[in-house]
């Protein structure tokens, strides 16, 4: 049965990695556009305008840091899942809360402007 476990895990790894590489390829060839990843859309008099968002930027940086930390822990000891420090979890939670707060604020501002038109 150990050969089945090994085969199953390697097959799964190939499939997941294949999917991830496919998405990465779509980034590279421009099919998936991340141009406004760190921009927030706010409604103004002319419709919707996208502008730089610090909320998104900090959420992106914190998520990236958490990902790198996690990958490093798994690379160091691939026999079990890593323990994620509570401080890191709290940081990610707070960061995402700030991002969502900014998104909600932009949405409410847009709605208020639309109603005042």
């Amino acid at each position: 049965m150990s050969s089945l476990v090994m085969l199953a895990s390697w097959s799964g790894l190939v499939l997941v990695a294949g999917f991830a590489l496919g998405v990465l390829w779509r980034f590279v060839d421009g099919t998936i556009d991340l141009a406004e990843l760190l921009d927030e859309s706010v409604q103004d008099a002319n419709g919707v305008a996208a502008s730089w968002s610090w909320g998104r930027a900090q959420a992106f940086v914190v998520s990236l840091f958490a990902t790198v930390f996690y990958v490093k822990q798994v690379a160091q000891d691939p026999t079990h899942f890593p323990e994620i420090p509570p401080v890191l979890l709290a940081s990610v939670g707070a960061s995402h809360a700030v991002y969502l707060g900014g998104k909600l604020k932009a949405a409410l501002i847009g709605r208020a402007r639309a109603l005042n038109k």
């Binding site: 150990s2 141009a35 919707v48 899942f81 994620i84 991002y99």
Partner: protein, 147 residues
């Protein structure tokens, strides 16, 4: 192509089960366990390969995978994708190294939960507002009425 893929998958699965039934030593229960395991793996693997091939050929369009409702890239979708892929790959690596299903710590589940919740709430905020993109070119003047 889809039908051919399904037929190949079914054929290989049946062949695997037949090989196990005739050549794997052991009692009937052992043969049944091994055959079921390899048969299920064969079906799952071929299904996954079919999806990847469709993906590579452009039959499955993922251009808007990270697109928000009003346009532009969605950070919540992007971070959910990254966390999901990273945790999935780490699970498969851990299983291949340790040869058993690992215990998932609360921290990892919490991280995935935060990521998924962020995506859900972001989607909810977007669904509650309707955004229309600013026109990039001046709109054409309306045609005068005929007659």
């Amino acid at each position: 192509m889809k039908t051919l893929g399904v037929l190949i998958s079914a054929g290989v699965t049946v062949a695997i089960i037949a090989v196990v039934a005739f050549f794997v030593p052991g009692d009937a229960m052992t043969k049944l366990k091994v055959a079921t395991g390899y048969g299920a793996l064969s079906i799952a693997l071929f299904s996954g390969v079919l999806v990847l091939v469709s993906f590579a050929m452009g039959r499955i369009d993922i251009a808007s995978l990270f697109t928000e409702l009003g346009g532009g890239a969605s950070l919540s979708r992007f971070q959910l994708f990254i966390f999901t892929i990273v945790v999935a790959m780490s699970l498969l690596i851990i299983v291949s190294v340790s040869q058993k299903l690992p215990e998932v710590p609360t921290g990892v589940l919490t991280l995935l939960g935060i990521s998924a919740t962020t995506y859900g709430v972001s989607k909810g905020i977007q669904a509650g507002t309707s955004l229309t993109k600013a026109p990039s070119q001046p709109e054409a003047a309306p045609e005068p009425p005929k007659g």
